[in-house]
Amino acid sequence: MNCRSEVLEVSLEGRQVDEALLSLLHTILLHRSTGKFHYKKEGTYSIGTVGTQDTDCDFIDFTFVRVSSDELDRVIRKAVTEFKDALGNSGSDGMGQISLEFYQKKKSRWPFSDECIPWEVWTIKVNVVNLANEQERQICREKVGEKLGEKVINIVEVINRHEYLPKMPTQSEVDNVFDTSLKDVQPYLYKITYQITDSLGTSVSTTMRRLIKDTLAL
């Protein structure tokens, strides 16, 4: 099974990075989260309800929909803040990428640890620009809003191709497919990683790999 990989690119101002990334990551997670599973007698389960919430951006002319889960929001915000700080501290030209990877766990026999098999990876490439004056910033507000709208349409298009999705697991296997740690929603198992591109454009020499969400400690 091949891992599906999608790349989205955005150019924006420094102060817009948080909101732009939150909007795209939350849009993806909205589609990749379900309600909590409640397993009943063998072989049947029921699914909880997912609420949604509109969120306005302050620095971008844009509103996005996210899953109503403060816990999930906190996790995503933390990841985005770390990425943004790394971007600011790296001394690079403000280029980097953040990846949201959905994976499945495959149990291996002892002494080998479980495998993480990605089935969908979303990469958002960020290019931070500096603007000279307020007029340019105003134009940037609108332009980035429009760009994010296009990205949302791209995301929806990919998701609605209905390509591979992990099979619905039995009760014993649910933690291999879903992240069951949140109390109100259940996203597919995911991890967020990022890379900062140094000024030479190579991402290998200054790679910083951080695993924000990984239920398997390797």
């Binding site: 909205l30 909590k36 409640h38 997912v50 609420g51 929806v156």
Partner: protein, 476 residues
């Protein structure tokens, strides 16, 4: 075609499509209410939330949707459409977008109705939630209020896109294959936002034989085909008028099976939560706060840029014929979504009748922040009309021989009681005198003095050279 589908599956599929259509309408209309929508996640399934999504049901919207469906389902050649349009307070109207739920003949025979189709419909609803915030009508709907409102209309049958103007764009939200056909959800939205004149509107043939009513305050117009999105249902909690509409309790599928298909029945009730909505509160303030700020005009105000795109378009429309703006101050040819004159002009006009024409010292500044920007709505008095014509002629770049004296009256300032007031202060601080230290004569003078005193200073420093060396040594 349906021979492979069991009766139970067929029944389930019809139910899913019916409720999907109803929820689609709810999502679209709620996204155009002008408010942020927020629903809560619940880890325990209640049986009343279709497609595992918390989407509240507005009773009137459900009623209209069911009326339009008339017991039928979207099928091949019979699409369900939700039309969103804008209506100004003057009665001009414009279609903004049309959402279509269509079915085509392409069938997916092997797909599991009870799980896969249901899950994909849920995914499609989530996509609809996301896309409804992205089309241009969303921003317009967030700003609706006194100037314009957003209306919706549901119809069934052939898709009508002619009202969207030239160059409309289409975005496909998604598709779901079923054993009886493929459901497609898409949106066609207008890109040309120049408002039609009222004459043009009357010439348009009425849609489906019913004439669209003028904008009414009352939300539940029985004969109105178009319905306001931001309605207020006075004291209507349970939807008393709709008691008959909520027919048999429909069961919402919430139980799934990981093993091969087994029983699906789950006790539960349909209904959702009847919602009483209030009119958006940001309308009035936002209007006055939003001075048009087009790139062409030199305005220090920072208006929300989302209004800029539309207004700059209307400015382009207007500046093409500035003479029209001067002469026809009472026509309805206004740019779309243009704000009414702000309180500043109103203040000026209230002080003295025709104060603008009173002979005073000539004081006309092109970059005066208090003068109105070019794109302006229909003026409601001859005074305002003349002020608009003044500013539009300026921004249009035309020089005119005769000027109209504009008495500069800043907002909220007292007039005629204190000669040295806010207005005078503004004028003075915009033309401050030059700093003394920056004037050339003074600096030249001090330079000459410095040069003369140099030899003396050098002599003193040479005398104290030992002290300086000792100081430097302490630093090392």
């Amino acid at each position: 075609m349906d021979s492979d589908l069991s009766p139970q599956d067929r029944k389930d599929l019809d139910k899913f499509i019916k409720f999907f259509a109803l929820k689609t309408v709810q999502v679209i209309v709620q996204a155009r209410l002008g408010e942020k929508i927020c629903t809560r996640s619940s880890s325990s399934p209640t049986g009343s939330d279709w497609f595992t999504l918390a989407i509240k049901d507005i009773p009137e919207v459900t009623h209209e949707a069911k009326k339009a469906l008339a017991g039928q389902l979207p099928s091949i050649g019979r699409s369900m459409c939700v039309e969103i349009s804008l209506k100004t307070s003057e009665g001009d109207s414009m279609e903004l977008e049309t959402w279509c739920l269509e079915m085509n003949e392409k069938c997916e025979k092997d797909i599991k109705v009870s799980y896969t189709v249901y899950t994909r419909l849920s995914l499609l609803l989530k996509s609809l939630l996301a896309i409804t915030r992205v089309t241009p009508a969303y921003k317009l709907s967030r700003k609706q209020g006194h100037d314009y409102v957003i209306l919706y209309r549901i119809y069934f049958g052939d898709v009508q896109l002619s009202g969207l103007g030239d160059g409309f764009q289409t975005v496909r939200v998604g598709i779901v294959g079923t054993p009886i056909g493929t459901l497609t959800l898409s949106c066609a939205y207008r890109t040309n936002l120049a408002l039609m004149s009222s004459r043009q509107f009357e010439r348009t043939a009425p849609i489906m034989g019913i004439i669209i009513d003028h904008f009414v305050e009352r939300p539940l117009g029985n004969t109105a085909l178009m319905h306001p999105c931001n309605y207020r249902a006075p004291g209507e909690e349970e939807g008393g008028a709709y008691a008959g509409v909520e027919d048999s309790q429909e069961v919402c599928t919430t139980s799934f099976s990981t093993s091969p298909p087994s029983q699906m029945v789950v006790p539960g009730k349909e209904g959702g939560v009847p919602q009483v909505l209030l009119q958006p509160s940001h309308g009035t303030q936002a209007d006055h706060g939003r001075l048009p700020s087009c790139p062409a005009a030199d305005m220090p105000h920072q208006a929300p840029p989302s209004s800029c795109n539309v207004l700059s378009r209307s400015t382009e429309v207007k500046s093409a014929s500035p003479s029209d703006a001067i002469e026809t101050t009472f026509t309805r040819k206004v740019g779309a979504f243009v704000n009414k004159p702000t309180t500043q002009v109103t203040t000026a006009s209230l002080d003295l009748p025709f104060a603008a024409f009173a002979p005073r010292a000539y004081d006309l500044e092109e970059n005066d922040p208090m003068v109105h920007p070019p794109a302006s709505p229909t003026p409601s008095s001859p005074l305002q009309g003349s002020l608009h014509s003044q500013s539009s002629s300026q921004s249009g770049g035309q020089t005119q021989e005769d000027f109209v004296m504009v008495d500069f009256k800043p907002a909220f300032s007292k007039d005629d009681l204190l000669p040295m007031d806010l207005g005078t202060f503004y004028r003075e601080f915009q033309n401050p005198p030059q700093l003394a230290s920056l004037s050339i004569d003074v600096s030249a003078q001090s330079m000459a003095e410095d040069l003369d005193s140099l030899p003396e200073k050098l002599a003193i420093y040479e005398k104290d050279i030992d002290e300086f060396d000792a100081f430097v040594d302490t630093l090392q």
